[in-house]
C-alpha cells in the first residue's frame, strides 16, 4: 500500500476521533421521526429527517439510537406525558450526542427527550385542523343536529375485538331500566396507520343507510398509550361534521383530547361513558312517560273526586232544599187564601151597599110615606085607583085613603 493511502478503517477512525474531539457536547435537536422501531435487543432505532419549507422533500437525514437503558427511562415518561408512543411522523425534541462508528457510520445517540415539544406540536396540529374546519364553515355542523327523542338504533364504529366495544355492548344490554337498544358494529381499525381510511369507510357505510340509525357511536377502549393522534385527522373530523346522524365519540382517553372531540355531537371519555350516556337518554324518556302517567291518573282522579264532592254536597243539601221549597209553597198558599178572603169580604160589602141603596130608593116610592106628606088616594068602590075625573060619575061612591084610615064619600 502506498504511503499516501489509508485504509477505510483508518479513515473512519480519523473521522471518529475528529468528531469526538470537536463535537463532544450534547445537542438539543428538533426533528421529525421518519422511522421508529423497538428492536428485540431492547434498543430503539429511529431515523430523523428534516423537510424543506414546502414539506415535500428531505433536506437532512440521520440515523439515531436510543439505547435500551435510556429507552427504559425516557419512554415511559414520554408516553405518560403525551399519551403517545414514539412513532414515525412525530416531531420530537431530543438531546443527542453525535457518534461515528467505523463500521456503522454516522449516528445520533438519544440521551433525553422533551415531551412538551411533541405535545405542543400535536396541539398545534389539532389547532390547525380545527381552524381549517372553522374556515370551511363545517366545524359545528354535527353539533347542530338534534338527537332524536327516541335513541335506540345505534351504529357503532369500533374494532370487534376491542375491550371497549365489548364493555359498551354489555352495558347497553344489561341496563337497569330494561331499555332496548339495537346495535350494529361497523368494524374499523382503531389504532395504527389505517385508522383514518378505515373509520372513514365505516362512516360512509353508515351514512348510506342513515335512516336505519338514530346515532353513530365511535368507541375504542383506552390502553396505556392510546396513540390518539391517529384520530387527529382533518378528513376524519370533516367526515364526522358531515354525518347525517349525531356522532358520539368515546375513544377512551382520560387526559387528552382529539379533534374528533371538538366536532362530535357528544364527546364522552370512554366507551362505558358512551353507553351510560345512551342509557341516560332512555331513562329520561321513561321518567317523562312515568310523569305523564301520573299526571293523567291524578287529573282523572281529581275530576272524579270533584264530581263526588259535588254530588255529596247536593245530597247533603237535599232535606234543607225540600224544607225550603215546602215553606215557600205554604207561604204562597197562605197568601193566596188571604187574598181570597179579602176579595170575598169586599164583594159581600159591595152587595150590602147596593142593597141599602136599593132600599133607600124603594122606600122613596112607598105610598104610605106620600100619604103622610098630605097626599091621599082615591079609589072606586070596587077598589080601582081613581086617576082622572072622567072615571067618576055623579053618585059614585068613592073611598079616600089617608094614612090613618079610609073615608067614604059620594060624588055629586
Amino acid at each position: 500500500m502506498p504511503a499516501d493511502s489509508v485504509t477505510l478503517y483508518e479513515l473512519n477512525a480519523l473521522v471518529r476521533s475528529v468528531l469526538e474531539q470537536t463535537m463532544s457536547d450534547a445537542y438539543w435537536l428538533e426533528a421529525e421521526l421518519s422511522e421508529a422501531r423497538l428492536a428485540s435487543n431492547g434498543h430503539f432505532y429511529v431515523e430523523f429527517v428534516e423537510k424543506d419549507s414546502s414539506g415535500r422533500s428531505f433536506i437532512a437525514k440521520a440515523r439515531g439510537t436510543i439505547w435500551a437503558r435510556t429507552y427504559h427511562t425516557i419512554a415511559p415518561l414520554f408516553e405518560h406525558a403525551t399519551g403517545e408512543r414514539l412513532r414515525a411522523g412525530m416531531k420530537v425534541r431530543v438531546q443527542v450526542t453525535v457518534s461515528f462508528h467505523e463500521l456503522y457510520g454516522y449516528s445520533l445517540n438519544v440521551v433525553d427527550i422533551d415531551p412538551s415539544y411533541t405535545m405542543g406540536d400535536m396541539a398545534r396540529r389539532r389547532r390547525e385542523i380545527l381552524a381549517q374546519l372553522e374556515a370551511d364553515g363545517i366545524l359545528h355542523d354535527n353539533q347542530e343536529l338534534q338527537l332524536p327523542v327516541l335513541v335506540k338504533r345505534i351504529a357503532v364504529v369500533s374494532s370487534a375485538g376491542a375491550a371497549g366495544y365489548g364493555d359498551f355492548c354489555k352495558q347497553l344490554e344489561h341496563n337497569d331500566y330494561g331499555l332496548y337498544f339495537h346495535t350494529q358494529l361497523f368494524p374499523a381499525v382503531m389504532q395504527g396507520d389505517h385508522v383514518e381510511e378505515s373509520v372513514l369507510a365505516a362512516l360512509a357505510a353508515i351514512a348510506d343507510e342513515a335512516d336505519r340509525w338514530d346515532c353513530v357511536v365511535i368507541i375504542r377502549g383506552g390502553g396505556a398509550t392510546s396513540d390518539l393522534s391517529d384520530f387527529d385527522s382533518y378528513h376524519l373530523a370533516a367526515a364526522i361534521t358531515q354525518m347525517p346522524l349525531p356522532v358520539i365519540v368515546g375513544i377512551g382517553h382520560e387526559r387528552d383530547e382529539t379533534v374528533l372531540d371538538f366536532v362530535a355531537h357528544t364527546r364522552v371519555k370512554t366507551p362505558t361513558a358512551a353507553a351510560a350516556f345512551l342509557i341516560d337518554l332512555g331513562a329520561q324518556q321513561l321518567a317523562l312517560i312515568e310523569e305523564l302517567q301520573q299526571r293523567l291518573t291524578q287529573a282523572a282522579r281529581q275530576q272524579i273526586e270533584a264530581l263526588h264532592f259535588k254530588l255529596d254536597k247536593m245530597v247533603a243539601l237535599l232535606p234543607h232544599t225540600v224544607a225550603m221549597t215546602l215553606e215557600r209553597e205554604q207561604h204562597k198558599l197562605q197568601q193566596l187564601s188571604q187574598r181570597f178572603r179579602q176579595a170575598t169580604a169586599l164583594q159581600v160589602q159591595g152587595a150590602k151597599f147596593k142593597l141599602q141603596n136599593f132600599e133607600t130608593r124603594l122606600s122613596a116610592l112607598d105610598p104610605v110615606l106620600q100619604l103622610r106628606r098630605g097626599y091621599s088616594l082615591t079609589l072606586t068602590a070596587d077598589g080601582h085607583l081613581v086617576k082622572t075625573v072622567a072615571q067618576v060619575k055623579p053618585g059614585d061612591r068613592l073611598l079616600t085613603r089617608f094614612p090613618d084610615g079610609i073615608v067614604q064619600s059620594q060624588a055629586l
Binding site: V149, L150, K152, G178, H182, L286, I289, L292, Q293, A299
Partner: protein, 63 residues
C-alpha cells in the same frame, strides 16, 4: 286505537295534550273513561318503544 303508523314522538305529544286537557278539566266526565283508556294505550306504546325491539329491527335481526 290504531298505533301502527304512530311514532314515539307523536305519541308523546298526544299524551302531553291529553294530560293538559284533563288537568284543565276540559274533558267531559262522560268521555273521561275513554280518554283514560286512550292514554293508557299511548303510554304502553311509548314504553314498548323504549324497552322492546321494533318490528323493523326484528326483521333486520332475522336477516
Amino acid at each position: 286505537m290504531n298505533t301502527e303508523d304512530l311514532t314515539y314522538e307523536a305519541a308523546l305529544a298526544q299524551l302531553e295534550k291529553l294530560a293538559r286537557e284533563m288537568e284543565a278539566g276540559e274533558v267531559p266526565i262522560d268521555l273521561l273513561a275513554a280518554k283514560l283508556k286512550e292514554a293508557q294505550t299511548l303510554l304502553a306504546f311509548c314504553k314498548a318503544k323504549l324497552t322492546k325491539a321494533d318490528e323493523e329491527v326484528k326483521k333486520l335481526l332475522g336477516e
